[in-house]
Amino acid sequence: MSLALVLEQLLNGVQFGLMLFLMSAGLTLVFGVMGLINLAHGSLYMIGAFLCAAVAGATGNFWLGLVGGLTAAAAAGAVIEMAVIRRLYARDHLDQVLATFALILILSEAMRLIFGPFPLYLNVPSALRGTVNLGIVDYSLYRLALIGFGVAVALGLWALIAKTRLGIRIRAGESDREMIAALGVNIRALYTIVFALGAALAGLAGALVGAIQSVQVGMGEPVLILAFVVIVIGGIGSVKGAMVGALLVGVIDTMGRFLLPRFFASFLDTAQATGIGAALASMLIYLLMALVLIFRPKGLFSAHG
């Protein structure tokens, strides 16, 4: 086990974590501002990936595809908010879970109807192909770009929330919804904007990850569940918590899958070690989540006290 391999896995973990952050940020904002649990967030990720692959396939340009995927996810988010989600704010969590579960069924089948049952493939843009030398390891340029992209979007989101008028309203909405409505802020429009913003981030993540995975129906749900783990660890409603949680989950999951089988191989035979290691590694982040909830039932950075 060389240092180069460890560094490569660590970078993979950070890259995975940053993509999870893009998913989790929208989820946690929607919960923080509107108090809504949105299972269909993974479907928006899927829409971003599908539209990016379709546009990139038609035009031959990845960046046009990226814009297409992001726009489609944001538009789908706005439409879904106005048609369905809006009716759920006053309902209990059970109704929200069910209605958004129904949305997953609808959106997944709609994608299957439009794009057919087979996965789409999205190529890494030519400018970002190949590897780059980082001293002791040759690392994929595209994955490195994803890390840069993730950091840039995170900074942009921070600036949006901390420095702009919209950000002030979002923060006000998180601390007291009724009050900002009473102060004359158009709360319905704010809700639609926040939901569409979250959808755009999810769509962006889907489009970016689509180039290193296959784009298929059902791709959003595993990521959605990881994003839930992230925001529960980080504290629901906290964007900072989502960042910390996403990096923790990304790095621990990746390193666990890399290190645990090797650890067990040091005293068990290879086949057994691989089995036990893989089984434990896949449970690791859920164990982390359980531990966090036992010691900090509201997450590491709770937005609501």
């Binding site: 649990i37 369905v84 209605a99 579960f101 089984a279 896949s282 449970m283």
Partner: protein, 326 residues
């Protein structure tokens, strides 16, 4: 006629219909319909289990597939070792006796529910939903990557497990067993709901602070409710594995947990026969629309969305009127 009597009449009708339709299928030699009815009965048992947590206790468990899958794996592993004649571990032999398998499935599911419940009930609301989901995902990924019992390929049950005095290879016999267990689990639910325990559980759901003020400790009561709930769902899992003669990680998938909630909502939350109606609707929908179009889940989604947004009492609520209690 007041709505309570209307609901009882409706319940009796449903119970009779679920028996008469497969009986007719037996006469008409339509084994497929008997198997469908068996599937409805077993799914309904699983949902009756969840209904204790969700309907009576207001605990939105998004991870009940964990107990369903655990029960399924108990049946699968016991049958696997009985078939091969190998011990499970430390000389404990496998078994092909349903009654023994059910008992083990219920004990293990109850124990797992006790651990999950004790940790999850420290939280509430959205956190409870997510932590139960996370525990179920843990089980899902564990079974997926644990190679000893088939991993992601699942584990077939070559010969269906035995029940005293019945030939479980015959669809009608298996249906009778499932129907009997369903009626039994419905009776357990009704007794629980009518007992002091059920009253306490419902009081905690409606107002935990007030319940605590009159001397009911929410944590203990909810935990017991959660354990009973997991046990019944685990029992259903063991039966489900025997029906399909196959168990795989898919039984623990989060969509399965979602389907169990959907069943309860379609039928009506907290209603005695809600799970039966919901299971019949879901299976019926799948068979009917699944035969018409491969995109039947699109329509299921639309119907579900409609029920959540516009018909909150489920089908029993639509027919028998609103429930009297919150």
């Amino acid at each position: 006629m007041d709505s309570t009597r209307k609901e009882w009449l409706l319940n009796a009708l449903i119970a009779v219909a679920l028996f008469v339709v497969p009986l007719w299928a037996l006469m008409a030699n339509e084994p497929f319909i008997i198997t469908l009815a068996t599937r409805i009965a077993i799914l309904a048992i699983a949902a009756v289990g969840l209904n204790i947590a969700l309907g009576l206790g207001g605990m939105v468990s998004f991870g009940h597939a964990l107990y369903l899958g655990l029960g399924g794996y108990v049946a699968g592993i016991a049958a696997h070792h009985a078939f091969n004649g190998t011990p499970i571990f430390a000389g404990i032999p496998g078994t092909n006796q349903m009654l023994i398998i059910w008992a083990i499935a219920m004990v293990l599911s109850g124990a797992l529910a006790a651990v999950v419940g004790a940790l999850s009930l420290r939280t509430s609301g959205i956190f409870f939903i997510m932590i139960t989901l996370a525990f179920a995902q843990m089980g899902f990924f564990f079974t997926l990557s644990w190679p000893a019992y088939g991993g992601e390929d699942g584990l077939p049950i070559f010969v269906r497990n035995q029940f005293p005095g019945m030939n479980t290879a015959r669809p009608w016999d298996l249906f009778l067993i499932a129907y009997g267990v369903l009626i039994f689990s419905l009776a357990v639910f009704a007794l629980l709901r009518a007992a002091r325990f059920g009253a306490a559980l419902m009081a905690i759901r409606q107002n935990p602070d007030r319940a605590a003020a009159i001397g009911i400790s929410p944590f203990g009561i909810k935990l017991v409710g959660f354990i009973l709930s997991g046990m019944i769902t685990g029992l259903a899992g063991a039966m489900m594995a025997d029906l399909t003669r196959f168990v795989s990680p898919a039984m623990m998938a989060w969509t399965m947990s979602g389907e169990l909630i959907v069943i309860i909502i379609l039928g009506g939350v907290g209603r005695l026969f809600g799970p039966v109606v919901g299971a019949a609707l879901l299976v019926g929908f799948e068979v009917f629309f699944g035969g018409l179009t491969e995109h039947w889940k699109l329509w299921l989604g639309l119907v579900l969305l409609g029920v959540v947004l516009f018909a909150r009492g489920g089908l029993i609520g639509l027919i028998a009127g609103r429930a009297q209690h919150g």
